[in-house]
């Protein structure tokens, strides 16, 4: 390199370019990570195929695939916005990535925007794949797509808040263990593949207040039963989103 190569010429890239670059980069990292793909793509797809075609769980009246698809879509949202984001961000914090980016031109709020875009892009891929599989299994959805979008958006906000709260406060290893454990517990107890009414009454009511249950039951109300807007489930998700994002904003530690 010749004289003058390093002559200072500093400057931040335009905000839009920084956010896009960051979102693309994070999505690429996520799709390259085998464990993340297992969680976000392989497990939801397998559950959908397995439980739709093999009569393991009694999913009530109607086609199993019509019951299972909304639950698996909720699971996909949780796997990306909560589990995947918590683990990835926890390790970024642990390995000083967040710290290093903190000294780069991208502002913190823009970094968070990029993370959200990356989560949404991944969800789009998941939903595309899962609905294609569901249609292949004979899925016949009802309801208004806008209601579905609203549920998915609120669900993403709720799970992102909780995921970031965990990633920004716990040690990375603790986040890894806890995020996977929560994924497993909510998969079973969150109305994803097992209907909530299989649990005893009070337990079912309590489980119904979980964000995963609100999302899977809400999506089911719309996609299986053609409801317009499941207000209770939307309300539960909104409260989780407010609490999770609020706590994450207050308690998140960057190092």
């Amino acid at each position: 390199m010749s004289v003058g190569t390093y002559a200072p010429k500093p400057g931040a890239a335009p905000l839009g370019r920084m956010i896009t670059a960051q979102a693309v980069f994070e999505t690429k990292m996520l799709l390259r990570n085998g464990e993340q793909l297992l969680l976000t793509v392989i497990i939801p797809s397998l559950l959908l195929v397995l439980f739709s075609t093999v009569d393991i769980v009694d999913t009530g009246s109607g086609e199993p695939v019509d019951f299972l698809t909304p639950g698996v879509l909720a699971l996909a949202v949780m796997s990306t916005a909560f589990t995947g984001q918590a683990i990835a961000t926890g390790f970024e914090r642990r390995y000083g990535v967040l710290k290093r980016l903190g000294a780069s031109p991208i502002p913190r709020w823009a970094l968070m925007c990029a993370k959200t875009l990356s989560v949404l892009a991944t969800e789009l891929l998941q939903i595309g794949l899962l609905t294609a599989i569901a249609f292949g299994l004979g899925w016949s959805p009802e309801g208004n797509p806008l209601s579905v979008l609203l549920l998915l958006a609120l669900g993403t906000a709720a799970f992102s808040g909780l995921g970031l709260l965990m990633a920004g406060t716990l040690r990375a290893e603790a986040t890894l263990a806890a995020a996977n454990l929560v994924f497993l517990l909510l998969l079973i107890g969150g109305g994803v593949i097992v209907p909530l009414d299989k649990f005893p009454g009070p337990v079912a009511s309590a489980l119904g207040l979980l964000p995963i249950s609100a999302l899977s039951e809400g999506l089911r109300e719309v996609l299986q039963h053609g409801a317009a807007l499941p207000w209770t489930d939307l309300g539960v998700l909104a409260v989780w989103a407010a609490v999770g994002l609020g706590a994450a904003a207050r308690l998140f530690r960057w190092e």
């Binding site: 003058g4 500093p10 670059a21 980069f25 990292m29 390995y95 000083g96």
Partner: protein, 308 residues
């Protein structure tokens, strides 16, 4: 043109609980210079640098970096500085070239990434993810990330720790090129030779304070005694030699015919010794001057016992 300081630190204090990590520290970094911050482990080097980078808020005192407050003016300052952390800072699954390209994309006028990869020998990293790169490769990538945005000022925290000699030389060469192009550099280091080779100014920090500051030459000259040695005929009259030397000098015959003079060894003293030898018909063989290295100064100032 740029006469102002790149960094100005006055009365800086940082406490962690009851421990005072940085204790009323003053430091100036001249624009366009290379300043080395030397000190034993736990002296407060990294804490000081991280307050300049805006990572930590001072408990007292003032820091101005490029005329800005690193915390309050962070958004304005960040694009203008380059930061190399002591370790980490890269996505574990990212390849060296894609991380560097990504950092370049966050800047308005980045360096040519391919040329920088070539310059720092990062091409050998190939498709290996960051977590499986060697320590030296990770260090060189961190250095590249610090300079790719064409900053005015770079902070390098122990830039050559764990590098092999060739990679160290390459890093030094890059720092010299940065200086030649007008970039200011602040580097922390444990290596005296690194400070001696690279730095225009050295600040020695211990227990959170600057205990000595100046160019490497000034620091080596100041206070510390130097040594002149020669061999000649055994049994020279050292009393007569001492009378000719300035006060405070000492002369001994270490072994028959091997002489050592200590004191403020400069051109004057050397001339005095050689002319005394000439008067006494002595041929001073193997005459040599040992000037103190920065390491001697450092150990003298910070003590010789090992610390955590």
């Amino acid at each position: 043109m740029r006469s102002e300081s790149a960094v100005e630190i006055r009365g800086l204090v940082k406490r962690y609980g009851t421990k005072t990590a940085v204790d009323r520290l003053d430091l100036d970094v001249r624009a366009g210079s290379v300043t080395a911050v030397l000190g034993p482990n736990g002296a407060g080097k990294t804490t000081t640098v991280e307050m300049c980078e805006g990572y930590r808020r001072p408990d007292a005192g003032a820091v101005r970096v490029l005329g800005l407050d690193p915390v309050a003016d962070a958004a304005k300052l960040r694009p203008r500085i380059g930061v190399m952390l002591q370790s980490g800072g890269v996505y574990t699954g990212a390849r060296a070239d894609e991380m560097l390209r990504h950092m370049a994309r966050l800047h308005a006028h980045p360096l040519d990434v391919d040329a920088l990869i070539e310059r720092l020998g990062l091409g050998s990293c190939g498709r290996t993810p960051y977590r499986r790169l060697s320590g030296g490769q990770q260090q060189r990538l961190a250095l590249a990330l610090a300079v790719v945005g064409r900053p005015e000022l770079v902070f390098l925290d122990e830039p050559t720790a764990g590098l092999d000699p060739q990679a160290r030389r390459a890093t030094w060469e890059l720092v010299r090129e940065l200086r030649a192009d007008g970039v200011s550099t602040v580097l922390t280091t444990h290596f005296m030779d690194e400070a001696e080779e690279l730095a225009d100014d050295v600040a020695i920090i211990d227990t959170g304070r600057v205990i000595a500051q100046g160019s490497p030459e000034e620091l080596c000259r100041g206070g510390a005694e130097n040594t002149l040695r020669f061999t000649g005929r055994p049994g020279l009259d050292l009393g007569s030699l001492l009378k000719a030397l300035p006060d405070g000098s000492a002369a001994v015959e270490l072994t028959p015919g091997a002489y050592r003079i200590t004191g403020e060894v400069g051109p004057q003293l050397l001339a005095t010794v050689t002319s005394w030898c000439a008067q006494h018909g002595v041929m001073p063989d193997g005459i040599s001057v040992e000037r103190h290295t920065l390491e001697d100064v450092f150990l003298e100032l910070t003590g010789k016992e090992l610390r955590g």
